[in-house]
Amino acid sequence: MNLDAFFFYAFSTLALGGGLLAITRRSAVHAAIALMVSLLGVAGLYLQLQAEFLFVSQIIVYIGGILLLFLFVIMLVNLDAGKSLRQFHKNWPLGAAVTALTGIALAVLLSRAQLPPAQQMPSTGNVELVADTLFQDYLVPFEVASLLLLVAVVGSVLLARKRA
């Protein structure tokens, strides 16, 4: 087995394993930590796919931002108090079954997929490439995304403030 495959399987295990743990933990904090592990695995996969910029932003934004936010809110809401309660639905088999079904269908589809031949990435650095693409071809969505973030900021502040 070469290095490529080893790292791939390692990062995949982190990602999928972390995900599995995240959805099955009783304690919300444990689930958040598991999610962090999963996200780290995903970041590793980005690195292997030669998306360095995304690797870094994933760690900084996703783990350092969103996950932290989750942890703060968990602590604010004192979610662990509900640890003793039932965690899963009454009819969780239905959800599982449906998901399995969907999985099978998608797997079948994918197995029939015929990809076009692979291309080589340009030899410029990834950040440069991303920057070029982002600010030349996708400038407008970029601006709209910033607007979206503004709305999100305002919205969350509004939603979460204490009523006087």
């Binding site: 689930a31 996200l39 604010l76 979610l79 991303v130 995304a145 973030l149 939603l159």
Partner: protein, 100 residues
Amino acid sequence: MISTMHYVAVSLAMLLIGTVGLLTRRNIVIILMSIELILNAVNINLVAFSKHHGNAAGQVFAIFVIAVAVAEAAVGLGILLALYRNRETVQVDEIDLLKW
């Protein structure tokens, strides 16, 4: 050899994990986390194909997905806080005011 399809398979698995968590858990925070898992699965897919096609469009799209995930997480947690203040619960099946 690790081909693009491997990454797609990982993406699919992560998607399914996230879906199961979304449909099955009662705790709203866990549900939000499952949503983050789904979004990440999508990101993996995008980046894999970005490498496959040899341009950065997929990666740029993944950046936008991250941005959206951020916004959604912020607003979602804000809702959760407001909900917790009103209902004193974060179990989603106890919040069914829109029931028939």
